[in-house]
């Protein structure tokens, strides 16, 4: 059996939030195409909905973009009303991309060397 290690998504992928009203989208983009399957298997819409459970999200949908080695998560009603209604500091949900990156996944230990922090060139993605 192959050895697995638990790592936060931040070591495998980068992310950006966008908002429309009370709906948030987070683009999650693999640093290395080798991570695509791991994320595809483990970071399901259900898993993300559970990660954001404290905000009681409505629908959570995941879109797959294999040619960009990316996923787009759309989370309904997680912005506490959105930028024109939230009492919080971040009504856009701009910081929430990094909340998603705290989610942990089990990574094949053989892929650890491909993590951005293990490579001399940092997060520079290989041309593909």
């Amino acid at each position: 059996m192959r050895q697995k290690v638990e790592v936060p998504l931040h070591r495998l992928a980068h992310a950006r939030s966008g908002d429309k009203g009370n709906r948030l989208n987070i683009a999650l983009i693999c640093y290395d195409p080798a991570f695509y399957d791991t994320i595809s298997e483990q970071v399901s819409a259900e898993r993300v909905a559970a990660h954001f459970a404290a905000r009681q999200p409505g629908d959570v949908v995941r879109y797959e973009l294999p040619k960009l080695f990316a996923f787009n998560y759309v989370l309904d009603r997680v912005l506490e009303g959105g930028v024109n209604a939230s009492l919080g500091l971040d009504g856009h949900g701009k910081s929430l991309s990094f909340f998603l990156l705290m989610l942990k996944v089990e990574l094949d230990a053989a892929l650890l060397g491909r993590c951005a922090d293990q490579r001399p060139q940092g997060g520079t993605r290989d041309p593909y």
Binding site: L65, L89, L96, G123
Partner: protein, 455 residues
Amino acid sequence: MQQLVRIGCGAGFAGDRADAALPVIAELARHGGARFLIFETLAERTLALCQLERRRDAARGFSPALERMLPQALGPSLANGIRIVGNFGGANPRAAGARVSALARAAGFPSIRVAVIEGDDLTGSFSAEELAAREADGALLADRPRVVAANVYLGALPIAQALDQGADVVVTGRVADPSLALGPLMHAHGWDWTDWGRLAAGTLAGHLLECGAQMTGGYFADPGWKDVPGLGELGYPIAEVAASGELIVTKPAHCGGVVDARTVSEQILYEIHDPSAYLTPDVVLDITDVELAPDGPDRVRVLGGRGKPRPDKLKATVFVESGVLGEAEISYAGPNALPRARLAADTVKARLARRAPELAIRVDAIGLASVFGNLATSNWGGIDTPPEVRLRFAAQHARRELVELLLDEVEALYCAGPAGGAGVRRYLTPRLASASCLIERERVMPKITFVETST
């Protein structure tokens, strides 16, 4: 050899860097062919604030970014034959057009043609009830007749027509952001408004440009993970678009920033929901099969965007008054800071529960749990002794005096709260709530006029 059209972006929002356009202009000036500079300066809320300003002064109400960005960009653009398209118009595109004309005269270009595009403002043509009947998602408008602003997203066609008619500068109010780039492409390449494949390519170009540096290394750096050289001098984006719709994105040389598959991927998906159906007034863009290919340093080829016929209805954003937001902050530091902060929060909440029970109060502990809020920790549990805690209280209500009670109670912590409370700040901000409506195309009439120049 296909003629390339080059489009640079000088601003991605009203608060963007005022000097960002200058290196873009310098780069565009090095090339021949059709070249355009676009400015996106009209966030939804910015436009609502413009409406309020116009009510106070009929000669104002355009984007405040116009005065910050255009005076230094106008001269070098016009001198090099670079035409400008920007949504500086806000709630008063005519006043913005007149101001642009005056700035151009001051810059030594008294006879340029400034086109103004109107027709996005629905407040004269739709009653509050008609808007409420068209609300797309929710029922905010059902019981709130006080409409502050109602603007429909116009598309690229009137921009292309204004350029066809010889405009050097096109000033718009609310248009879809990608249309700022698609309009010049339709004009320069002669694309038909039903050529969905090319319109999709141009919309994709516009989508990548519309947030300025967000495609070139801005809003991207994560030190040690995603490093960006020269964040202080970011080069803003430029798209090179062939008549076929082939698209390359890049940035000016000799600036900071980076353009690669990572930066372009983040911006491609920015504010996208279903990637197969990004709705604009011009076309439905499908980015499902988009691929990126390196094309030299800081150059990325973007392939595979597809288009479907434009939607039947146009989206409008409607703003209504929704009271006042009050925020007040106070800090506690040193030994036992967190219990003192907690006592302060409990004290204010208990007093407000008596004095203004209808007020819902939020309390954040900045640095411990604020932007992540309840996602980080419930009631700040499980947190060790922090060196400092900054409390933030917030509430919103239609009655300003109730919100002011909260701010007064926080300030009173100075003398009546726990020991060591420090650095109180308080803010009151008028609040506007927004709703989306879907409007029939046949009831929207874009109008192009040219600013009269006195010779």
